[in-house]
């Protein structure tokens, strides 16, 4: 579905990604773990076209999307849930979701929108309750759900999530991860970037470890979870801590 070859990207003089290659198969959850500043967000922004990559290839659905604008990439079916829950805070929950469906309107598939809306409300019942509320007045967890719901309204083939657990309380993080699992079980493809390596790897099929702009390790989620280096660098403290995030 998504295939990246030798991607180089960065801001100004700073080169953040160095020859990154990876792929995502249809129907799987792939997670990218790594410390802050490793380039995880840069990678997602480069795929989504928010940041123009320097060189390399990003093949989505058989087409090179490296030089396409964000709008075109979304139109092709690749949606990003941005870091920090960037909802339209001055608009209602419903308006947020309808804007997510903009691609559907452009594809002249208006009838789908109503059904999709119902689907999202079933997935996140709290959003149905808050339909008329301004998005900015929602709590952090609700905003994250709205952001995911909005991305789903576009009917994407691939959904990318940037740190969905960031700044959320453990209980809500658990909800969010349950929903990601549910999405996969419904046949969606998910590319998940997470700081919380243990939680991410426990729901993912495969994973990549990104360190200072390079892919250092890759493999199945179980392999990575049991890898000594990964444990030491990213899971270390979690393993013997008393409060664990269990799913």
């Amino acid at each position: 579905m998504l295939k990246i070859k030798n991607l180089e990207s960065g801001y100004g003089k700073l080169k953040v990604l160095k020859r990154v290659s990876m792929h995502v198969n249809p129907g799987e959850i792939v997670t990218i773990v790594g410390s802050n500043g490793a380039g995880k967000t840069t990678l997602l922004h480069s795929i989504a076209g928010l940041l123009k990559a320097r060189s390399g290839e990003i093949i989505f659905d058989g087409q090179d999307i490296l030089r396409l604008t964000t709008e075109k990439i979304v139109f092709m079916g690749c949606s990003l849930v941005p870091e920090g829950r960037q909802v339209f805070s001055t608009m209602s929950v419903k308006e947020n979701l309808l804007l997510g469906a903009y691609v559907q309107y452009r594809k002249k598939q208006k009838e789908r929108v109503r059904a999709d809306l119902e689907r999202i409300y079933d997935l996140f019942p709290i959003l149905r309750e808050r339909e008329r509320q301004l998005a900015g007045t929602l709590s952090g967890g609700e905003q994250q759900m709205l952001a995911i719901g909005r991305a789903l309204m576009a009917g994407p083939k691939l959904i990318m999530m940037d740190e969905p657990s960031m700044g959320l309380a453990p209980l809500i993080v658990k909800d969010i991860f349950h929903i990601i699992l549910k999405l996969r079980n419904e046949g969606n493809t998910v590319l998940l970037v997470e700081q919380n390596a243990k939680a991410a790897l426990s729901i993912a099929d495969r994973g990549y470890v990104l360190e200072t702009g390079r892919i250092m390790l890759q493999g199945s989620a179980e392999d990575l979870l049991s890898n000594k280096d990964v444990q030491r660098a990213y899971l270390g403290r979690d393993i013997d801590s008393e409060v664990e995030l269990k799913l």
Binding site: Y11, G12, L51, K52
Partner: protein, 359 residues
């Protein structure tokens, strides 16, 4: 004490002297008139530079402070108090030595405020006005701050334009020369042209030294902190409201002093000095100089005002400043004299999209 700190000042003093000698030997001493005027305008500009570049607060009303200084000084030194001589207030002023007697054009007697008294009163009034305006205005940010200061400028403009004792559209004229002390006077007479050039330049140099000291001190650092992240500066114990207000008042005083002296130099002042276009021009020059760059502001202040006063821009004077503003802000928001100033131009030809941080 490090010597190189004073090197730029020495260079500035040498440049001032060199320019005077140059005009002397090339027989273009008449240019000193415009140079003197440019120096006074530069005083406004370096004051504004501290406010905009260092404390990060825009003011679109600085011509208002210039006009307050100029108009009050002009009014007090030209209005004849003779008919009110017996009034208790006037005799009080007289006893305090604030007034002096002069002869008007027709040989009649006239009683005016002494320029020194007028100057002090003008500056005092500016300080009061700046405190009153600055207090509430500086609580605002971004567009709101810009509009509020613009509004202040327009109010001053409308008042001087609509008030008969300020001469309405004609402004005030016949402002006497300002005798600082016997033998040294601020006036436009050609006999004292060189003297006046040095008075104005000396004032600018003093202003630059004072502001440089401020920039390189604890206060200057606090101002840059306010510019960078105001709430963090507050959390570190910087009284942000007070510092912004004091900087605002300081830059208003610079504008006011320039207004007083330029009015005495020109022998008058008109409402155009208070116009919005003047305020915009000051902002433009600070922007070209590079916002947080006192030397850049100073150089551009001298240069552009001089060119403008010499009439090089013809009837396109305002349009030139408007265009300069646009071009600078599009291509070199760090100012012309910044080391990265050409990055902006290069940017058009390359594909990099990363932009500078929020100012």
């Amino acid at each position: 004490m490090n010597f190189h700190k004073y090197l730029p000042i020495a260079a500035l003093i040498s440049a001032v002297i060199a320019i005077q000698l140059l005009t002397y030997f090339t027989g273009s001493a008449y240019m000193l008139t415009q140079l003197t005027m440019s120096a006074y305008y530069s005083l406004v500009i370096i004051g504004l530079c501290i406010l905009m570049g260092y404390a990060g607060q825009i003011s679109l009303g600085h011509a208002g402070f210039f006009a307050i200084g100029g108009y009050i000084s002009a009014f007090l030194t030209t209005c004849n108090l003779l008919p009110y001589r017996s009034h208790s207030l006037v005799s009080l002023f007289s006893k305090a030595g604030l007034l002096n007697m002069s002869e008007d054009l027709y040989g009649g007697q006239a009683l005016h405020f002494h320029p020194w008294a007028a100057c002090v009163m003008a500056v005092l009034f500016t300080i009061i006005a700046a405190y009153c305006i600055g207090g509430p205005v500086l609580k605002l940010k971004g567009h709101y701050l810009a509009m509020a200061t613009l509004g202040f400028g327009i109010i001053v403009y409308r008042i001087v334009l609509g008030t008969s004792f300020f001469g309405a559209a004609d402004g005030l004229s016949d402002v006497p020369s300002f005798v600082i002390f016997p033998g040294l006077e601020v006036s436009g007479k050609s006999s004292v042209r060189i003297q006046n050039y040095y008075i104005a330049s000396g004032l600018v140099i003093a202003g630059v030294i004072i502001l440089l000291n401020l920039i390189n001190s604890r206060i200057g650092r606090a101002l840059r902190a306010i510019h960078g992240a105001e709430d963090a500066a507050g959390a570190m114990g910087v009284n942000t409201a007070k510092y912004k207000l004091h900087t605002f008042v300081l830059s208003a005083v610079f504008a006011s002093i320039a207004g007083v002296l330029l009015t005495h130099y020109n022998g008058g002042i008109g409402p155009s000095e208070a116009s919005v276009m003047k305020s915009v021009r000051y902002v433009a020059i600070v922007a070209i100089g590079g916002m947080a760059n006192l030397w850049g502001a100073l150089l551009m202040g001298f240069l552009l005002n001089f060119l403008s006063l010499r009439g090089y821009f013809g009837s396109f004077d305002d349009a030139v400043f408007g265009s300069i503003l646009i071009i600078i802000m599009l291509f070199a928001p760090e100012g012309l004299l910044h080391k990265n100033s050409f990055r902006g131009i290069k940017k058009i030809f390359s594909h990099t999209t990363k932009e500078e941080g929020q100012a």
